[in-house]
């Protein structure tokens, strides 16, 4: 072999031995599943908690790490996420990767502070953090939340978050709160952003006072399972948390917001004929709510008509009232349902008009077409001038009522005979 050939061979094998700039082996990385943000000791500093998945748990290699924890949670002080990762490397052995992060947990303390938007802003600058990461506000410190969260069914933490949030969002009790949406709404500077509200702490005293889904995280009376509860939402105005909404209110927001998809909703409400019992419904949003805005340019006043078409499937009638065949009773039931939900919606709208001064339904989209350009639109000022003074009328319209696969319940008197 000549010298030349040797050189060529050498050149070809060289890159195999050296590591090129961004080359990194899989086992040299730690995969962060969840990130927690807490207040640090001084102003402008934060405690970042990284929940890292342990690859050896759940793998088929029988001997490897079966006794280890499926995850490790480490906390470190820092001013922004990326510098915190490098600092964390003083005790985490591998390079910290944020690409597979599913959620960012923010403690309520941070969320209510002015600094929240600064921290999150820096997250959007790095390509590692995706727009689809969900924002969760925890009642307690985020590090505590992440440590206390011990799912028993899913060994791997990312699976837990994925399934948990997916299911809870389908039922509408928590909002869709990814970073992408956060920035669209916050930078749009017109509407309220809803983040997921969760906690691992249990509120003992409030348990029995509420009905149906009118709970906040931590209030749900339950036994067993993981202490973590995802319920309701945290309301953000201009990048700062101002309030919380219960699961039921969150559902209403999801119904009224056309940019959010919701699959199904199981609700129960008092039987109009036998008020001691509850009737169980499967609520389905058949099409987007129709929001009609009449905007008066001169007065800068808008009247908003909202029509929400929906479908109902009755799934439980413990009272045994014959709603299926008795038209009168059926009408009574429908009316009662519509009234109840309209009342609740109106209550929520009034609250947002008066207390929040803006809407969590992303309704500013509808007013836009009345303005010619952005300066005019910003001058019109949806969240300070138009929405709080708008006349809003909400109308729920039942499109279809079904009774599941059974026409009638068994006659209980005859059974008891």
């Amino acid at each position: 072999m000549t010298y030349k050939k040797l050189m060529v061979l050498f050149l070809f094998t060289l890159p195999l031995l050296t590591s090129c700039y961004d080359k990194i082996e899989l086992e040299q990385q730690s995969y962060v599943v969840a990130l927690g943000i807490d207040k640090g000791e001084d102003k402008g500093s934060y405690t970042f908690s990284f929940q890292i998945a342990n690859p050896e748990v759940g793998s088929t290699m029988a001997t490897a790490g079966s006794s280890e924890e499926p995850k490790e949670t480490v906390s470190i002080l820092g001013s922004d996420i990326i510098t915190a990762t490098s600092l964390a490397n003083s005790f985490v052995t591998k390079k910290i990767m944020l690409d597979h992060m599913k959620i960012i947990v923010v403690s309520e303390e941070v969320a209510r502070s002015e600094g929240f938007i600064r921290v999150i802003q820096s997250a959007s600058r790095i390509p590692q953090i995706r727009g689809s990461v969900q924002i969760v506000v925890s009642k307690e410190r985020a590090s505590q939340f992440l440590k206390k969260n011990k799912p028993t069914m899913e060994t791997r933490p990312h699976k837990y978050f994925q399934y948990m949030l997916q299911r809870a969002q389908q039922t509408g009790i928590i909002p869709d709160a990814d970073i992408h949406r956060f920035f669209q709404i916050t930078e749009g500077d017109a509407d309220l952003f809803l983040a997921i509200y969760a906690t691992t702490m249990k509120e003992e005293n409030k348990t029995n006072t509420k009905k149906d889904h009118d709970y906040l995280a931590g209030e749900i009376p339950k036994q067993g399972g993981n202490p973590t509860q995802f319920m309701g939402s945290a309301v953000f105005k201009e990048g700062m948390m101002i309030d919380t909404l219960t699961g039921e209110d969150t559902r209403l927001c999801n119904i009224l917001d056309k940019t959010v998809d919701m699959d199904e909703l199981f609700v129960s409400f008092p039987d109009p004929i036998k008020p001691t019992y509850q009737v169980g419904f499967n609520y389905a949003q058949s099409s987007e709510p129709k929001v009609n805005i009449n905007y008066d340019n001169k007065a800068n006043h808008a009247s908003i008509d909202v029509v929400v078409p929906f479908e109902l499937e009755i799934i439980a009638i413990p009272s045994m009232v014959d709603y299926a065949l008795n038209q009168d009773e059926q009408n009574q039931l429908i009316q009662k349902f519509e009234q109840t939900i309209e009342a609740k919606t109106n209550q929520l709208i009034t609250k947002s008009q008066e207390t929040y001064g803006s809407d969590p339904f992303y309704w500013s989209l509808y007013i836009r077409k009345f303005f010619k350009d952005v300066p005019a639109y910003e001058k019109g000022d949806w969240n300070k001038k138009i929405f709080p003074n708008a006349a809003i009328h909400v109308d729920y319209q039942l499109k279809r009522l079904t009774f599941g696969k059974m026409i009638n319940d068994s006659k209980i008197e005859e059974v008891r005979d």
Binding site: Y21, Q162, Q166, H180, Q184, D373
Partner: protein
Amino acid sequence: MKQTDTLKTGEMFAILSILIATRASDSTASLFTQKTQNAFWYVPFISLLVILPSLFLLFYLLKKYQDKHLIEMMETVLGGWGSKIIGLLIFISAFLLMGLGNESYVSQIKILYFPEAPGITIALIFFIVVYFSAKKGWKVIGFVSKVLLPFFLLSSVVLIALISNDIVVDRIFPFFGTGMQDVLWEGVRKGSLFYEVFLVTIAYTSFEKTTYFRKGVIIGLLFSITQLITFFFIYATTYDYNSIEKMSFPFHDLTQYVNIGSFITNIETFFMVFWILASFIRFTIYLYIITWIFASLFHIKYIESLLLPIGFFNLIISIIPENVIMNELVFRDALLNYTTPLLISFPVLLWIVALAKGDLKKQ
């Protein structure tokens, strides 16, 4: 033997589509939003309208002076010196635009996928691939563009399908963005968005029939403007006007945001594969075209031998600007604005001279 490898409409269509439609994926969109906010999505259409009369005039002239490409035609009309000056102007602006574009692409790759690699390494890899591709000649470039175009289309269809759920059409309102005047003015100034259409007329005679060229350009132009507007529309409707303004690479933000179901969540690399291929080809075409213009300006026969020096100088230019945002918002913006009048005026000038000389009447 009779030639079996000739370029046809399909190749022209592919070349032009890759040249212009890939603009949808670079930072052109963010450049436009700076002055128009959420109205940027139809700005390309205004630009096209502005540039169209000159374009048709140029085509008319090319048709009149049969069997001559852009530079040859200019030489017949304007004579030696005049054509050299205008040709050089065209060459220099195209050369600078390519250099800046190159730099922008390199930084996109660096920022998004290879944060630790030095930019010069990426630029060098880019240069090597582009140079060796361009060396295969114009016809091969055409064939490969045509072979690969369906894949690019497929990937953009996939992207559109995946993002369609997150589109909120109401975000295009208020319709006139920063104001009607601003938007129109921006559209007019960015006529040079379609610079490439003028540049490819250098290849006018390389097709089996010149009708193939014209047909290809028109279909390609229609397609590209559709693609551009579709993508810009998607950017405008997925991002609110305040957010889009802050984004340097809306295409990549989009690919990072979408996911297939809940299992395959980070699929930007899938789109990046096609995007990189498309950008390689785009700069290959670009390099070949500007080298061609240069070669025919100075009557140099072997285009292939000029590729290396011109490509190399381009590499150097692309290394000079310090940061990508500056490059994009300052240099490229200014360059695009300054080349528009050139593009609009030179066909008119040619036409007037040709008319004065009486060349147009003879045929």
